[in-house]
Amino acid sequence: MAYNHKVELSKPERFVGGHRLCAGCGAGITCRAMMRALDPGDKAVVTNATGCLEVSSFLYPYTAWEDSYIHSAFENASATCGGVEAAYNALKRKGKIKENYKFLTIGGDGGTYDIGFQSLSGAMERGHDMVYFCYDNEAYMNTGIQRSSSTPRFASATTSPAGTVSNGKKQNKKDLTEIMAAHAIPYVAQTTFIGNFKDFHQKAHRAIYTPGPAFVNVMAPCPRGWQYPAHLLPDICRMAVETCVWPLYEVIEGRYYLSYVPRKKLPVEEFMKLQGRFRHCFSRGNEWTIEAAQHYVDEKWEKLLAKCE
């Protein structure tokens, strides 16, 4: 299905302005693009984990969503969505519902990688016909930028701050996309905001319209948490992809497909230097952190290339 940018952007907005997300927030961009991936005429129910997006997009009595929406708690968005989907199946079977609905769950890395992990794994394993979109901003942003398992190594977060005896987060970023692929669900993808959004759109569309569970991991930069001037978001996303920090790929029925190979793979500093959370990596004596980060990215990239068709 060819991507027609103008047609897609002309669709009526299903995530409207007036929400309370920060200026320049990656989560807002994610939601708009996610909802654009729905075919016109298809209804949706959005389930949302507690976090920046939830408190900002449904603050009583203001909902930024044109579709039905449910938030129940922080760690259970997937189970809640499973309940909505089960109800849909039951009511459709009884002839009480006629229309087509799609079930989209969205949560930050906190509610997805960590506290929501069990719920996500269970729902994916059960095979609900749903899509989980993670807006990955690499920390618990809503509570004030605490580290999550998604925070990259060396990033400074409020519970893993850089200091005189610390260089930020000690552990490497958990690879949730790989964990989801290991669940053997029909479709898994990694994407972010590049160019005309064709990559995001095609992946989101495929995820929504593949029967069964699907998972889409979206790198969604956060100007406050990553410490950069808000307008730099597109540069950060571009650098994440060109340095192979955040490869764009899909796993379709267990087979790996790379979406983009950088013509010239840039050094990881090009990504890190744009963000204040890595500032300490550039102090004298800390060159080893950048080398370690480069080594880590290189290893992961090689492993991914080996898996891809």
Binding site: V45, P61, I70, A79, V84, A86, S119
Partner: protein, 399 residues
Amino acid sequence: MSIRDRLSGNEAIAYAMRQINPDVFAAFPITPSTEIPQYFAQYVADGKVDTEYVTVESEHSSMSTCIGAAAAGARAVTATSSAGLAFMYEVLYVAASSRLPITLACVNRTLTGPININNDHSDSMGARDTGWIQIYAENNQEAYDNYLQAMRISETPDVRLPIMICQDGFITSHAVENILLEEDDAVKAFVGEWDPEHALIGRDHPLAVGPYDTCPYCMEHNVQQAEAMKNAKRAVLEVAADFERTFGRHYGFFESYRMEDAEVALVLIGSTAGTAKACVEKLRAEGVKAGLIKVRVFRPFPFEEIAEALSGVKAVAVMDKSEGYSGAGGPLFAEVRSACYDLKDRPEMIDVVFGLAGRDCAVGDIERVYRHLLKIVTTGETGPRYIHMGQRTSEKEVL
């Protein structure tokens, strides 16, 4: 026409669920409620129900699944006990504050550790502030009858609160007793259908559930919920009246057994009532004016009604089958005593915490309580207000 059968409490609940044919069943096992999802799974496997059976990976997820399903306009049910109920603790509040009718079969098992699988009420008592309607059963018949009434109470438009139907683990859930079952068509007609005005799906407008409520709004929503719990009192009696008209069995907030002229009385919840009734008969034969109140509806708490029932009684022992660790008595004692505060003729009232973690309570044990109450009446000395019964001890205890 009722059908005579012999079922355990768990079988009876599963049977009722089959007759109701809910839309979604979120299943996770925990002793002693495990049999309920198992029996129901067989109904599903044999095509006897149309239910979407969701085998979740934890109890937090089973309640979350019910929340999603109920918000979507479907009848959602689950069953649990003890730590399972505790694991759902956070979302029990959400189910109530989101005003979703969900029915939970609670097979009471102790929560206060160390881990033990036997009966007491600490699990559902621990959830008494969650905003759920709580109804308790003495035996399998009551468990079945309460379950048939649950959804209509819960779905009442000015109530819209989730409901837990409780029975004593192992004592009621696993013991096979005689029971009167109702016919499938009669049950379907009594329970009816649920078609809420608003739902996430299938309506001509969207629904948004679960907002972030800033301070100017949150207390108002809480007050709405408090009003709904008050309305539940009326709904309980309305549904009970219709139940009696339809099936012939009477239910209220509590059962008053031989209370007309009682001078000494017990107030308690659950299967111990059966034992206590046997003791009351024994004492009555001796001319003792003994009576018993078996509380059925704990939430909403029948404040005025219990006080009225105890007015004029000389000495009351509230029997708590859960230890709330308040240092001053169990949860039933606190609420009953508070209800009686306004009485001109207040009975002497003590709390007996008993039967924890399935510690057996026989007719003889109940008799000791009544004899103690009689001593209170004759001597005029109430003694300690908060005592335990049934534990081994090296000190001299009151009971």
